[in-house]
């Protein structure tokens, strides 16, 4: 363990992370969050957020790992993870389509968009197609009511779509005709500053 006790904090952290038993590098993101939050049990939701961001969903192993690290009963961690809609315990499909069902979208026929999509892809909202290509879900208001009805396709917000045009878009997305666009950063200046701060 001599290499851990070094003056350079970041280097020693890296060395410790590299020794993670599973060998999965994504765990080091979780570990970093755990350290930043000082292994406080109150920070469970923050840790789960980080874990879901790193892994895409919360697998059983991940929940067990989090419970161990925070010294919480697994039932407690499972209870929190299932309580909040944001956490998914199942892997998502390659592409995601979220349809907003907030009031403003609902009065502008978002309900029909969902039923058309369900018909088209043969899955219910909240499910993933058997080939793992598409996950369809609904959301309770994304706060973009001025653009109603609103969808989120692979993280990009799309507004003012009708049922037919939505199906077209999603089909193109699944067929890979639209390259998944990286959501452009809202504030390039922020990242610059962050880089400077580091």
């Amino acid at each position: 363990m001599a290499n851990v006790i070094k003056d350079d904090a970041s280097k020693s952290a890296k060395a410790a992370e590299a020794e993670h038993p599973s060998g999965d590098p994504r765990f080091k993101l979780v570990d970093r969050a755990l350290k930043r939050l000082q292994y406080q049990q109150d920070a469970l939701i923050e840790v789960l957020h980080t874990a879901q961001e790193a892994f895409g969903y919360l697998s059983e192993d991940l929940l067990i790992y989090t419970a161990h690290q925070l010294k919480l009963p697994l039932s407690w961690v499972y209870g929190v993870a299932t309580f909040y809609h944001f956490f998914s315990l199942k892997p998502l499909g390659e592409h995601t389509c979220i349809v907003c069902l907030g009031t403003a979208c609902y009065v502008k026929q978002a309900g029909e968009i969902v039923s058309k999509l369900q018909e088209e892809f043969g899955i219910e909202a909240g499910q993933t197609t058997p080939d793992g290509k598409l996950s369809l879900s609904t959301a309770r208001c994304l706060g973009s009511c001025g653009l109603a009805p609103v969808l989120v396709l692979d993280g990009n917000v799309v507004g003012r779509e009708g049922p037919a045009s939505t199906v077209e878009r999603v089909r193109a997305l699944v067929a890979g005709q639209i390259a998944p666009v990286e959501p452009k950063s809202a504030s390039p200046s922020l990242e610059l500053e962050e880089a400077e701060a580091l």
Partner: protein, 554 residues
């Protein structure tokens, strides 16, 4: 950092802005970002770079300009000339704006008049902007611009010239009431927490804006994050807290990012953290990210969530003001409430009390959505009539349809029918009509909407969001949903109507927290004003025309 430093920063910023011959403000709030403002900004950036004008033209990404349905919006400010506002800007129009305003000697001056939006239209002139005064005018990520517009002056004034009691009194005298929906007088709440015994106290800003159709808090946090922080710090000083939490919905990534940055810069400058403004007052703010549970807007559930638990409410009393986070006295206010604090301290309680009605003071931000020509975010004085909001600010109902109802307060609220269009919008008047002010979602429905269907929509929401702790809410919402489903699928009977009414009262009276207690409100409200629609559905037993063959809305 002290008061003089604050002034120096403001002056420097002003000088910096005067160097530019043109300021291009581009809306970078969620609605405009998703309708293409990043590509517009890109055009501007490239043009400025290509013409080497970085010293002459200032590009600013601002917060929300209000009229979200006409986004992306761009504002051009040039000294000695009236500012120009452009709507529906895309790459091509951006290019035209470039040649009109940026390039010094263009070969052709393009005609952009179809996209110029007059700022004299009622949408802008009928508003009174207090909370949103900076929104759309400043870069939310630059502390200096907030300071230039008078930011943090209230905090330093409170710290230097006022005692904590005086701050509480000032807020009480202003008549400010909680903007989260219930309308509890803010000053009284502060006084309660201040007097509560406890060696630690907490300030919590509730930004868990779960109501579908509402996005006021998100806009405030995105467009003017420092205003919220300043309000929280003043609250911390008034009640004796050293730690604050902002609870933000996980669905608001931009708001989270901007708040994080705002907290970092404020701490670096000594406006937050230890020894704020070189006084003995310490105040730290941390962000807590919600994970998608509507019930977490309820204060006890919100505190459970901050402490990393399932967001389930607990019976009150004890109220959070006595025993909140980790058992310590805790002040919970809505984000918008905190955003009102700095202007009150700056301009005085009597100024604020002069806006609004006798019992509801000040302004209220509404998210105006639904079947309207102008949808977006508005801030109006309390007591404005619904008619003014719908027809003047909202520009009326599109497609030749007629106004049928205004939905206020989200799933906890109710409907206002056309005969009440002249009702003043304030806490008391809305309550008298069986609705609530709520957090500020205002959804307009036209004659194509089916009321039992709308009631079912909200009931489904409450059914999904019920945390499951108390029985009336957990079971009652499901049963009410099933009955409402019979109305929209054409199989309802008179017995159903009777049972529905009984259930509404039962759930309202016996639920543990606000979610259950208010879940029947949309049903009760539609029964009150649109009972005929329910009855005709029983009589005719057909699926209403507005709905399709599955009872889903077409």
């Amino acid at each position: 950092m002290n008061r003089d430093d604050l002034q120096t920063i403001a002056q420097k910023e002003q000088e910096r802005q005067q160097q530019f011959r043109c300021r291009l403000l581009c809306c970078a709030s969620t609605a405009c970002l998703s309708s293409g403002s990043p590509s517009v900004q890109e055009v501007f950036e490239q043009a400025v770079k290509a013409n080497q004008l970085t010293k002459e033209v200032q590009l600013v990404s601002t917060g929300c300009m209000g009229l979200c349905s006409r986004g992306p919006m761009v504002r051009v400010q040039t000294p000695n000339e009236p500012e120009i506002l452009y709507e529906h800007v895309d790459r091509q129009i951006a290019q035209k704006i470039v040649s009109k305003h940026i390039v010094p000697e263009p070969e052709v001056t393009p005609d952009v008049t179809p996209h110029v939006l007059s700022q004299d239209i009622p949408f802008f002139t009928r508003q009174t902007r207090v909370v949103l005064s900076n929104s759309g005018n400043i870069d939310p990520e630059r502390l200096e611009e907030y300071i230039m517009h008078g930011g943090y002056k209230a905090l330093v004034y409170a710290l230097r010239e006022m005692s904590p009691e005086q701050v509480c009194d000032e807020i009480t005298r202003s008549g400010l009431r909680g903007r989260g929906g219930a309308g509890y007088p803010t000053g009284i709440k502060w006084g309660l927490v201040r007097k509560a015994p406890g060696d630690k106290k907490f300030v919590v800003a509730n930004g868990d804006e779960g109501d579908p159709g509402a996005y006021m808090d998100r806009t405030v946090m995105e467009s003017d994050p420092h205003r919220v922080l300043e309000g929280m710090a003043i609250a911390g000083y008034a009640i004796g807290a050293e730690q604050g939490y902002i609870y933000v919905r996980g669905e608001y990534p931009i708001a989270i990012k901007r708040l994080e940055k705002a907290i970092r810069t404020a701490e670096r400058r000594g406006l937050l953290g230890s020894r704020v403004f070189e006084s003995n007052f310490n105040f730290r703010v941390d962000i807590r990210i919600g994970a998608g549970a509507f019930v977490c807007g309820e204060e006890t559930a919100l505190m459970a969530s901050i402490m990393g638990r399932r967001g389930q409410p607990v019976p009150r009393p004890p109220y959070p003001s006595q025993s909140g986070l980790w058992g310590y006295p805790t002040l919970i206010n809505n984000v918008e409430t905190f955003a009102n604090i700095a202007p009150i301290i700056n301009n005085g309680a009597s100024w604020y009390a002069g806006i609004g009605t006798e019992k509801s003071k000040g302004t209220k931000v509404f998210a105006l959505t639904g079947k309207l020509n102008n949808t977006g975010l508005i801030e109006v004085p309390m007591g404005i009539t619904l008619r003014e909001i719908v027809y003047d600010i909202g520009g009326g109902i599109p497609n030749g349809n007629t106004f049928k109802a205004a939905q206020t307060g989200g799933p906890s609220g109710g409907y206002l029918p056309p005969e009440h269009l002249d009702t003043p919008v304030d806490f008391e008047s809305l309550k008298a009509l069986g609705s609530i002010m709520g957090s500020g979602g205002l959804v307009i429905l036209d004659n194509e909407s089916n009321m039992p269907d709308m009631a079912k929509f909200f009931m489904e929401f409450c059914m999904d969001e019920s945390c499951g702790k108390c029985l009336p809410c957990r079971v009652g919402t499901v049963q009410m949903y099933r009955i409402l489903d019979r109305f929209t699928s054409g199989t309802a009977t008179w017995a159903d109507l009777q049972k529905l009414e009984e259930l509404c009262l039962l759930v309202k009276e016996t639920s543990l927290c606000g979610l259950g207690q208010s879940a029947p409100n949309p049903v009760l409200s539609t029964l009150r004003y649109f009972r005929e629609e329910y009855e005709s559905q029983i009589r005719e037993n057909t699926i209403p025309l507005a709905l399709g063959k599955n009872g889903d809305k077409q």
